[in-house]
């Protein structure tokens, strides 16, 4: 059965009303707002007066660098949460929201797989509770207000060649990456170059995920730099005086969404900033809700540990006020062999040597997480082609680093397939944690970048374009240099070249430009050619999608 068939069978037969899921974690009817019977938003007021239980354990799931072979990080996250509940450890899962663009493109759904899924999968993958749409609206309302300001006299003297605020759609649409707008004469706006991001790459998404209240949201929005004046002075949303209107458009989107897994584990799915251009974690409010309402929280960070986990630890943790107590790194035999040089078509053949060669990728991620003082467990997400010899060898290699690696079969078996992992994680939670940050925000921008490149990526150093060097000077003068650095890098490699797999050495990271995301509260360092608007493939998933008169969806995955 396909993922959607498994989900639909369960949805029909076994899904619990979300009110019951809420009740399980101590939320009453008055604490939630229903979106149909199986989705709810949690009112912020319901969370305000609760505190995090002293012994709450936060588990972060991350992975090796993603490959076309597939890793299954969300699936493992969900299966681990289910398994912990199965072991009577009261657990909530906290995930990111899928973006509709990739769903229509190559990916199909993004809600786990097999018997480790969140439901109702169709709704979550499509419009869910409208958070993405609210962000798109807010992003584009701001853009329209900027162009209208210029059209109506440009009191703030905004330089239309230096507007950094782009428009956004939650669609994979390469034709909107570079556009010219305002054509058609004096009544149709001021012509200028512009472009569209996918909504999850909007700074507003990062802000939504880092905000702790409506007031904080509004203050962050006010700080967004939308461009520069002709005198090269930054122009902010506060200058335009529309932070109230933009925050108003996000009032519901700010509330965490509650759903369930196939096994009824309460799951918050909320926010989903890109992990290359932004920090790649679900919202502070959702993670905090999970921390407050259970004894264990299982959450994930985007892409590989070099991007998602690093940003979770260096950008999200300081705002969250709680560091993970354990880390799970997801790897597959297939993906490691791919990292070891095996072609996609040969991955089903046993190949211990390729596995050993590709293991260097996992090894560096393990050591990186250990560097933060965190206990690590490796989840070997099972594929049918894995051989016992390959699994055994991988476990040995991990063991040499002092790390337990366990096979996980949650795709095929649900929580039952995750019990070994859950037990290994619980054991790792007994280890002493000596968490410490990677860098000090008060150090220079160049020092922060160098630390990430050397200690996480394993590179030798950093090369800056002239523009980037000039920006470091300006940012420091503007007092923007005390913010954490959010690296915008390819997810496929430790380097800025997506083709360099494994664990490359003796390389430099090339930074061409910085972007001040003052609302989000970090400085983005652009390396290589990071796309913020994906395209559709030759045969988009949309071609296979359909809906019947009874509303039954097919082809979503």
């Amino acid at each position: 059965m396909s993922d959607i068939e498994i989900a639909q069978k369960n949805e029909e037969e076994e899904m619990l009303p979300v009110r019951q899921i809420a009740e399980k974690i101590g939320l009453q009817d008055s604490d939630i707002e229903l979106y149909g019977d199986y989705k709810a938003k949690v009112k912020l007021a319901a969370l305000k007066n609760r505190s995090v239980p002293k012994n709450h354990k936060l588990i972060l799931v991350t992975s090796i660098n993603p490959t076309p072979a597939g890793e299954g990080k969300s699936t493992v996250t969900i299966g681990l949460g289910d398994a912990l509940n199965q072991l009577n450890k009261q657990t909530i899962i906290a995930l990111r929201e899928p973006s509709l663009g990739p769903v229509m493109g190559i990916k199909g759904g993004a809600t786990g797989g097999g018997y480790a899924q969140v439901v109702p999968m169709e709704d979550i993958n499509l419009h869910f509770t409208g958070d993405m749409h609210a962000l798109t609206s807010a992003n584009n309302t701001l853009a329209a207000l900027i162009d209208n300001h210029i059209q109506q006299g440009n009191e703030l003297d905004i330089d239309q060649r230096r507007i950094s605020w782009k428009r956004a759609l939650d669609i994979n649409d390469r034709a909107l990456r570079n556009v010219v707008i305002g054509l058609g004469g004096p009544f149709q706006g001021v012509p200028r170059e512009d472009g569209f991001n996918i909504t999850v790459a909007s700074e507003l998404m990062a802000i939504l995920c880092l905000a702790t209240s409506i007031t904080d949201l509004k203050q962050r929005i006010a700080k967004i730099v939308i461009g520069y004046t002709h005198k090269k002075q930054p122009v902010t949303v506060a200058d335009l005086k529309v932070q109230g209107a933009i925050a108003m458009l996000l009032k519901d989107a700010l509330k965490p969404n509650l759903v369930q897994t196939l096994e009824h584990t309460p799951t918050f799915i909320h926010g989903g900033p890109f992990a290359n251009i932004a920090h790649g974690c679900n919202s502070i409010l959702a993670t905090t809700a999970a921390l407050k309402l259970a004894d264990y929280t299982v959450t994930e960070a985007g892409f590989g540990a070099d991007l998602g986990a690093e940003k979770f630890l260096d950008i999200k943790v300081p705002k969250l006020g709680k560091h993970p107590d354990a880390v799970v790194i997801v790897a597959t035999v297939r993906a490691l062999k791919y990292n070891g040089g095996t072609a996609l078509s040969d991955l089903q053949t046993e190949n211990i040597q390729a596995l050993e060669q590709g293991f260097v990728n996992l090894k560096r991620h393990i050591q990186n997480m250990q560097q933060y003082g965190l206990p690590v467990t490796v989840s070997i997400n099972e594929f049918v082609s894995d051989t016992p010899a390959e699994i055994k060898r991988l476990q040995e290699l991990c063991h040499e680093l002092g790390v337990t690696a366990v096979e996980t079969k949650v795709w095929a078996d649900g929580s039952k397939g995750g019990l070994t992992l859950a037990k290994a994680v619980l054991a790792s939670l007994e280890q002493p944690v000596t968490y410490h940050a990677l860098y000090d925000n008060n150090s220079a921008i160049t020092d922060k970048v160098a630390t990430i490149v050397k200690k996480i990526y394993g590179g030798d150093g950093v090369e800056y374009d002239t523009k980037a060097l000039r920006q470091i000077k300006t940012f420091t003068e503007n007092g923007w240099d005390k913010l954490p650095v959010c690296m915008a890098k390819t997810q496929y490699s430790f380097t800025d070249d997506p083709k360099k797999l494994g664990a490359p050495e003796h390389f430099k990271i090339h930074i061409r430009e910085f972007v001040p995301d003052l609302g989000a509260g970090f400085i983005v360092a652009l390396t290589g050619n990071v796309l913020t608007m994906p395209g559709l493939p030759k045969k988009p998933a949309a071609l296979n999608m359909d809906i019947s008169e009874d509303g039954v969806i097919t082809g979503l995955f």
Copy 2:
């Protein structure tokens, strides 16, 4: 108190859970999907096996040509529904959904006013249940699939200079009216001219409002003409094979939304196509739901009766399978004096002569509705500046046409201020109805246009541009000529010149182009310069909007 203050006071103190509203009209918990406590969608299955009571009365509210003086059609529609319920006539109101673009621009809210409002007004005016956002997504997913098809080899031989499917946003954004997309080189799409409509002007909105089931929705989407091949053959969504995916994105948007008035009258608010470029009525499914679940339905059509009501009667009624039993035309003394030549700043001064001069506008609308064989009542929507002499004179003038005109004070007094109107409408329902269509769909395109121009607008005839004449030929060859014609005309005048107020005579309507909206099932005739993407004013309403830490919104109206 402002509209939003009245609404908020009521929302806090008196709003009933929408489940109780549903129960009032015979819908059970299992028939609806809650969106919070005060909004719900009605499942299509819940409506399928019900039929329209034999004596059900459908009341259509329309108005004179809109003026900057304000008419208050929605307010009267809501107040009339409340008043009918007050008289123990079981009534449901069926309205259109507000578009977010105008809300952020000049208009503030669009949910009635004073004590004749629908609530929760903030939610309805902002994201509501996400219908607009689903339409925006569906519209732009289709656009991305078209450009991707061309980028990936263009198997269908689509001519990128002849793509008629535009992108859309629910934003007032003049800078997006004319754009160039696909810039940046061979990996960023194929460069071409494009433009954005406001979402309510998308053909998908018209389709959503005319579809009677998911299957019908999908069939209509399949028929959309997205552009032409290099050989000038039409390309449809069916050719692209994505009608399933696009219909899937609209599965929830298709379900009617249920809310309530300040006085708890059940109200469906669903769909809202532009009444200039499209047919300007709420959805067939929502109107049908109202017809099935009550004894009286009060609904409205967009702009003046020359646009909204004409299209309601000639485009919607044949699909609805039920014609109105009575028509209410909303007018104000102020707006009539404005039509009579009085400047905006002088409208508060008594001026019987200007009233008499401007009455010609109302007169033509009255006669137009009588022409369809429908009984007419005029609602004089009260303003504080109206004098007893003006009201009396207006009543006399209407009386001369055999029409009752009653003062309506629903803004100030709610249902109490609408009882006289309700009684007059009930009396009009006793009159014999001899409803007949304006034109025969089987007649030639030019005949249908000429009939509308002569019989509704009062013009002498029609002038066609060469392009339009060529299109008439092609459309007829393609077999598209049997569809009703949807006139895209300024709402401010019976003519195609927005400055010609009153009831102009001896004019021609100039048609420059036709658009085949085969999915919606009509042919749009473009007259003059009809904007399908509004702009923002110098001081957008957004500047005054704010939200407090407790989520209380200010400045929405």
